[in-house]
């Protein structure tokens, strides 16, 4: 079989699998899609215009959401850095990195929402269980991204510095961390943004923040107020994205 025939066959198989999956979840059920689309249009029309009378209330709950997300991200970051170093095979290696990776995979298996429910059961309603849920999830997620970034540090740079007889602690301080700083900060801002969006969802299970109002507006069919809540969340996410990209541009190395 030549290259083109092989390529054609693999494309056909892949397309077949995608079509089968789409069919099995109902993408080809025309009646269902038509009625769903109609409902979506009605729902979308109900979302506008936004009801800004709730802005002040939502502003304070947005601050609580940001507070939860910020604290959860910071706790996650502080613990993810050492765990990332322990998980990196080019730094810890052997049994330490294998055990750390297993532990982190176990943490990631449970989504942030489930962590929040567990902590709500343990600590009761409010921002504390939400913050703890975000922190735990952030640890699992960021540690993985960090050990991958640490392992991607140029081997020649590490070898050149190791050849100077430097200690392992200083190698981390002066090679691994500076060379990965772009990734570290990018993932940190991404995680913060993710946690802001997540903490809105966590409010659904009583973990505080703007999510509590969002679920209330949905249950009471007050969709125009829901739009205001979504717009506020969007504004926060855009601000984080803007500030994050400015900081990265200002302080970090450009690829050469």
């Amino acid at each position: 079989m030549n290259y083109y025939k092989g390529n054609l066959l693999s494309t056909a198989i892949f397309s077949g699998i995608v079509l089968y999956l789409a069919h099995s979840v109902g993408f080809f059920d025309i009646n269902k899609l038509a009625s769903g689309s109609k409902n979506l249009i009605i729902f979308s029309a109900d979302l506008f215009p936004p009801d800004f009378s709730v802005t002040e209330t939502l502003f304070y709950s947005t601050l609580e959401t940001i507070q939860m997300a910020l604290l959860g991200t910071i706790i996650g970051f502080v613990l993810a850095l050492p765990l990332g170093l322990m998980g990196a095979r080019n730094i810890s290696g052997g049994i330490i990195s294998a055990v750390t990776r297993f532990f982190l995979a176990a943490i990631r298996t449970i989504p942030a929402l489930l962590w929040a429910i567990i902590f709500v059961v343990a600590f009761g309603l409010g921002p504390l269980p939400g913050t703890l849920g975000l922190a735990i999830y952030s640890i699992g997620y960021m540690s993985k991204l960090y050990y991958e970034a640490f392992e991607a540090v140029d081997r020649e740079v590490i070898e050149a510095v190791r050849a100077t007889g430097i200690s392992r602690l200083k190698e981390i301080r002066f090679v691994i961390l500076p060379e990965s700083m772009n990734h570290i900060l990018s993932q940190l801002f991404f995680m913060f943004e993710y946690n802001v969006r997540s903490s809105a969802i966590l409010g659904f299970v009583g973990a505080g923040g703007i999510g509590f109002y969002m679920i209330s507006y949905i249950q009471l069919f007050q969709y125009q107020k829901l739009t205001t809540a979504i717009l506020l969340t969007l504004a926060v996410v855009l601000i984080i994205d803007f500030v994050g990209s400015r900081i990265r541009d200002r302080y970090l190395a450009q690829p050469s």
């Binding site: 050149a160 050849a163 100077t164 500076p178």
Partner: protein
């Protein structure tokens, strides 16, 4: 004092236990001498340098690296890899100071606080390398030639008795390469030993006393560099 700074005796190296990338290498480098290693890509030149730096251990044979006062500590062998191994997001000065870390146990160095005399020394080496005016510039903003100078200054900061330079001028234009090699020869002085790997026969001839030719992990010739020319290399490779 022993005459030889580096001695390799019957050195073999295999990364996987089956396939040998270095086979039965014997090599002696006199104190203060400059030796050139030439050979095609993948012939084992870099592996040989890494064994001398003690980054990797030989599978068989032994390596002796001597200083003027006996066994030479690992940190006093300066190693400049082909891509230089500089930390791009640190400044030129910070990169040079990395060369001092193994000499200084002081905890402040972890926070980039160095004794004044070490800072002065680092600036002196940057000055010697002709790059002190860009000491505070991040390495990623420097040109290839400037980075070469920073890498040399970092190696000098280790207070080395031996410097191993792995094709470190191969990416530069010929004029800059010559400038860097002239500087290298100047700072080397008479006591420091130098091994360079290169594809450039002219560099080997002008800057080394002895040339060792390696092919497929085997040392196939050791000749005086002043008789080295393209015909000679062709003859040896044939």
């Amino acid at each position: 004092m022993e005459e030889y700074a580096i001695e390799l005796n019957n050195v073999w190296y295999s990364p996987d236990g089956n396939h040998y990338t270095l086979k039965n290498i014997d090599l002696k480098v006199r104190r203060g001498a400059c030796l050139a290693l030439i050979g095609p890509s993948g012939s084992g030149k870099t592996t040989l340098l890494k064994i001398i730096t003690r980054l990797i251990k030989p599978s068989n044979g032994f390596v002796i690296v001597r200083g003027s006062n006996g066994w030479l500590e690992k940190h006093r062998v300066g190693y400049i890899p082909q891509q230089l191994g500089l930390v791009r997001s640190l400044t030129a000065l910070e990169n040079v100071l990395i060369g001092a870390h193994s000499r200084i146990g002081y905890i402040g160095t972890l926070f980039s606080v160095f004794p004044k005399k070490e800072m002065k020394l680092a600036l002196e080496y940057l000055d010697m390398a002709g790059i002190s005016h860009k000491a505070e510039r991040k390495v990623y903003t420097l040109s290839g030639g400037e980075r070469q100078r920073v890498a040399i200054a970092r190696a000098l900061m280790q207070d080395p008795e031996i410097i191993l330079a792995d094709e470190f001028v191969s990416n530069l234009d010929i004029v800059t390469a010559r400038e860097i090699m002239d500087m290298m020869k100047r700072v080397k002085g008479t006591d420091m030993s130098l091994i360079i790997t290169t594809h450039d026969i002219n560099l080997a001839r002008y800057y080394s006393e002895t040339t060792v030719i390696i092919k497929d992990g085997i040392k196939i010739a050791e000749i005086s560099s002043n008789v080295l020319d393209h015909n000679k290399v062709k003859e040896v490779f044939a």
